[in-house]
Amino acid sequence: MKIKKKILIVEDDSFTIKLYTRLLSDEGFEVISTPAANEACGLAKREKPNLIIMDLMLTDGNGFEVIKQIRKETSLKKIPIITLSNLGQETDIDEALKKGSNKYFVKSNTRFEEVVKAVKELI
């Protein structure tokens, strides 16, 4: 049996998590998630996902710092990160990419197919 690739979603909006989980599961991925910035690193260390999808404005912190933390962790630093946020200013995009995100999508301006394509390219 083919082992499913695992995606960790760091996102604090419950409908968004439900939607991503459904859409990505349909594409054949195993999906785990956390709404908390301070749990993201620990969960990633335990679960070793193949890719992380990261929101930036989280209830308990900001995604920029989580990206920075992940890139500092030896065991996590090579995991591709896709930032999927609704912050669309160039300063936000630049900062996320500078901190180590591999791709950045402004959620409401992007079709889901495009995200799936990027996930497949990066895994």
Binding site: N86, G88, S108
Partner: protein, 363 residues
């Protein structure tokens, strides 16, 4: 500089300098204050009778750069003027006021030279920009909150509708599909409105800086085409591209190019007659790439053409056809094209054809 004219000035000159809103400081070549106007005391929160002459300007102002790093004698603008004879224009600094609070300021320093061209000191002009900086911060906060709070539900519902329309959760009948198409069209319009409002809040403050790089305009078009598929279907129009080669490399910002093409094609969709086939043309013309988008639709009335790129302008026939809209799309598009060193123009006959052209230099 003991008997310098800058130290001993007449009452008339003093009155004149005191009437200036910006702080003016005259320094000797060691950076000590020789003379200053009233605005300096006001800006720094000192009483007008507190004597500031003789103080070291650096110790008085305690400057830091925009990131909070203290400015030392080595990198201070005033010593660039005193030691190197250079003028520094509009450097941004933070200073500490008497009560310990911070102000934001721009400073301009100019060397003062004697008749033998030897530097005797410097003049500093300080403009308090704290209010402007605060407004900029409020704007950034507003952009963040608006981006997140308005776009999140919109994006989610659009993706959910795409998912349903894609047929994966089960088939839907024609009537259901029509309702979902209408929902999608409405949400797409609302998303466009949010984008316009966020863009418009940034353009006048030059917060948008293009990241000019080599990009393939055809690839950008393909992404926009995919984005707009449902929108076009919902308006009952099709889009067709005509190109004479595979790759059209230009030097421009990728996100800006996407917004530009998206705005132009979205407009073409919105203002086309039903069943229209929108024609996109990409061609190389010498050292330029020309993108054009032609539709058959309501067009632009002759007398309104000169206003078409103006902020908040919408022609009457456009309002009649599509009630919602901000009149910002083409204004933003033109601003972005200009920022990316391109050109935009159009040809239109009312109730017939309209073509928008955009020209970028090849990479």
């Amino acid at each position: 500089m003991k008997n310098s004219v800058f130290q001993e000035i007449t009452e008339e000159v003093k009155h004149f300098i005191d009437s200036i809103g910006d702080a003016v400081i005259v320094l000797d070549k060691n950076g000590n204050i020789l003379n200053y106007n009233k605005a300096l005391s006001n800006i720094l929160g000192y009483k007008s009778n507190t004597k500031l002459t003789g103080k070291q300007a650096l110790s008085l102002l305690c400057p830091t750069d925009g990131n909070g790093t203290p400015i030392t004698k080595k990198n201070a603008a005033l010593f660039k003027s005193i030691d190197k004879g250079k003028k520094v224009i509009n450097a941004t600094r933070q200073f500490i006021k008497k009560d310990g609070s911070f102000i934001w300021a721009t400073i301009t320093t100019t060397p003062l030279k004697d008749h033998k061209n030897r530097v005797e000191g410097a003049i500093i002009i300080i403009r308090d920009i704290t209010k402007e900086k605060q407004q900029e911060e409020y704007r950034t906060d507003f952009s963040h909150i608006a981006s997140h709070s308005l776009r999140t539900p919109l994006g989610n519902v659009m993706w959910a509708i795409e998912y349903l329309l894609g047929g994966k959760p089960g088939s839907i009948n024609k009537k259901q599909k029509n309702y979902l198409d209408d929902c999608y069209k409405t949400l797409k319009n609302m998303n466009r409105l949010v984008n316009d409002l966020l863009n418009i809040s940034n353009i006048p403050y030059k917060k948008i800086k293009p990241n000019l790089q080599k990009i393939n305009l055809e690839e950008i078009y393909s992404k926009v085409y995919n984005d707009l598929q449902y929108y076009a279907k919902a308006h009952n129009v099709t889009i067709e591209i005509n190109k004479d080669q595979e790759k059209y490399f230009i030097k421009a910002d990728e996100n800006h190019s996407r917004t530009i093409l998206q705005n132009i094609i979205e407009n073409a969709i919105r203002y086309s007659f039903s069943k229209d086939n929108i024609k996109i043309n990409l061609k190389k013309d010498g050292q330029y790439i020309i993108f054009s988008c032609t539709n058959k639709g309501i067009g632009i009335p002759e007398e309104k053409k000169k206003f078409i790129f103006a902020k908040f302008f919408r022609a009457g026939n456009a309002v009649n056809k599509e009630g919602d809209g901000t009149g910002l799309g083409l204004y933003i598009t033109k601003e972005l094209v200009t920022l990316n060193k391109g050109k935009i123009w159009f040809e239109s006959v009312e109730n017939k054809n309209t073509t928008f052209f955009i020209k970028f230099k090849t990479y």
